[in-house]
Symmetry: C2
Subunit: 485 residues, 2 copies
Amino acid sequence: MVQLAKGSRKSGATRRIYLSLRDQILSGVYDTGEKLPSSRALAGELGVSRTTVTAAYDQLISEGYIQVRQGAKPTVGFEGRHTCTRPESRPQDTTPRVSAYASRAMALPKNISPEQAVLQYDFRYGDVASSDFPKLAWRRALNAAVLAHRERLGYEHPAGSLALRRALQSYLWRARGIECDVAQIIIVSGSQQALDLCARVLVDAGSQVVLEEPCYAMARNVMLATGAMPVATPCDKDGMDTSRLPDPTGVALAFVTPSHQFPLGGVLPSGRRKALIEWAIAGNTYIIEDDYDGEYRYDVRPIPPLWMTGKGRVIYVGTVSKTLSPTLRLGYTVLPSTLVETFVRCKQITDRHSSSFEQEALASMIDTGAYESHVRKMRRLNAERRAVFLNAMAEAFGDEVDIVGTSAGLHIVAWFNCLTASDEERFAGCARQEGVGIYPISRLFASPTDQRAGFIFGYASMPVALIGKAVEKLVQVYRSKFWSA
Amino acid sequence: MVQLAKGSRKSGATRRIYLSLRDQILSGVYDTGEKLPSSRALAGELGVSRTTVTAAYDQLISEGYIQVRQGAKPTVGFEGRHTCTRPESRPQDTTPRVSAYASRAMALPKNISPEQAVLQYDFRYGDVASSDFPKLAWRRALNAAVLAHRERLGYEHPAGSLALRRALQSYLWRARGIECDVAQIIIVSGSQQALDLCARVLVDAGSQVVLEEPCYAMARNVMLATGAMPVATPCDKDGMDTSRLPDPTGVALAFVTPSHQFPLGGVLPSGRRKALIEWAIAGNTYIIEDDYDGEYRYDVRPIPPLWMTGKGRVIYVGTVSKTLSPTLRLGYTVLPSTLVETFVRCKQITDRHSSSFEQEALASMIDTGAYESHVRKMRRLNAERRAVFLNAMAEAFGDEVDIVGTSAGLHIVAWFNCLTASDEERFAGCARQEGVGIYPISRLFASPTDQRAGFIFGYASMPVALIGKAVEKLVQVYRSKFWSA
């Protein structure tokens, strides 16, 4: 049954007439040159006003289906006929011709979140608890942004809201010790877009790109889709082992997480930081510093970003996904001055600019101090989650499990000394059946080396009260041998 | 002066000590192996608590600047020295090595909006009046979206909010006669991102892409940055002249605006629509249908999109930039089923997904009918702006100006019969000096042909009361001959 736009009864009649005539023409009931009834005749026949019919005819004329000469009946002016059944109801050529980029993207391991099954105890990394989101503060900031006076609504500068970039400039200095000019800050739609822009601006198909081993999967995916040749550089407890970096000549880009290596959690020591930067200078290579969870450190204060000593080789990437919500899609980059103009151009081509109201809302949350007080609150809350979780794991598994990367961030890696990497998927599968989501680390290795089974546990979305139960469930699965059958 | 995070006086002292020691180590005041004072000695010397100093030392240890053996004084463990002056304060290599994509993007005509000068009467196309934005309805919808119950906040499906895609499915049928499955709808961050995704998925460097002549500049820019070879196909009063399409073999993509050609305003007749689709089938080529202002038609009802008769060759692109605001960055595509999975993958790599709260806000505005009643209000309002503007132009210029593209959309093109294309920039410049922003059409031609001067007038951001004055100002500039000097 044809649904009609609300409050358009009259034009609804016109539309019905128009649609039925169009379909008859398209399906060949009326052929080219054939005459339609006069508007008067058709109006009488259908029992509608003549203007209703005329409006329908006007529509058909404006689309070229019919022609009218003064006084004469309308004639079908449509060349030939073709049916207008829904495109999707007819056979498709099932192999669309796509770009090299798309072919590479389709060859990537499938990684479409969210996973459909809702688990009772999910340690999926990247999620945050809905109850942690500062609903009131965000609504207040958003409402202010919507109500703010503007002359007109037009496309804004691709680099983003000046208010937000100013707010971030001083936030980054207060919180991370970054001294930069506002002009070096570009707002992006989440750190994912920052990685994608880096690939666009700096990487060609065939370029070498240095990645950490193991590596954040979506960073590797960006580079593989771009056609880069990844060079996996092993990480140990101190992050990337810079002594094993390849010859920098011809390397376009290196992706690192120096504050808290993802997923292993190492903190890159200053000696390696220095070596990495000298390596980049030697190769005229750029470094992406993904500071994805720099706000979360429990034993020590945040570590100054690589960017500060980067001598213009480092692209700093930050996000609010871990402090506010991953669903907001707000992030920022701090660029070497020489790259600013290029990033601005490419950002504009990509999506013009990021959502303005949300940029302004974040700006006012930072300016009022609401953002930093929320970050402090989150730091306390996640410190508690972490403590409860680590205790529960120690009690449940004792020294059958080694846990690493605990000093920072919102996740840890647990190595199961009595399981091998080949057990990971099966164990995770059985845990899922019991409602516990754990995530095998082998998925993040280009070529797994460690023989033990490892899993990433994100705890930021876990209610403190449930953590104990979750670990209990997990240890039950672990002890029961059915899963290894 | 060092700014400190609010409410962190104690840790502020720690941070000051940490920073000064770090800088002394980095700048070589302390060299490798050298001893630092004991925490007790330094605490006494600085008149702070010993724990304050210990915390600073812990930080330096965690970053590898110093080492401590039980009972002994901390020794500098940092290999070698380098200064840590701000990266931006030292000479840069001024020619960064960038990708082929970035080089092409930088070679494009510069087109960074907004233009800084605020004009009293600006006919810039794409802007909408701030007063037209439905602040109350949008705030209500946003607040509901923020407050909506969620188990957790995690990355959502790249195709976008299911609620919004469902709402759009029925909206697109009601308003545009599109029958599609929810699975064929993908939410994007504005139509610009849709164009960019089409280029990524379907275009390689060197691919031929058919563009309208004249053409929407940002569509051409996307294709040029991707390295496509554009084939300009002339448009007349009925839109793209399909009889002048190139051989479709090897053409990857065609970009068209069939409902209201941008900028000339022609409506593509059904004969040409049929020819275009058969052309695409013959070449296994896809067509982007940019329905950028399909909601705005004044003399006739909206025209059914090409998509409906497109036999799976057409990618429909819609946006709320003209109905709500270009600053929201919300758009949507309706895809042939064969392309859905590929677009989803590439969208995820690009930015994971679009902003969730705003997607849900739009969904509820559509579901409650608030969106469509706003669209009807905007149609009335812009019909009035258009009428006032066309009258003013007719009075002021009579037959010295030909106006085209008036039956739809939010802009018109005015051809000045007594001026040549070479006068455009100078005339626009003098108009700007008088506070009137008009935009030369030659900028949108790959190779201008029409000898007359033409300008695009967008009226959607103009207060009705100012339109007469604006045209008055313009005709004054036109009559006064100083500008042609």
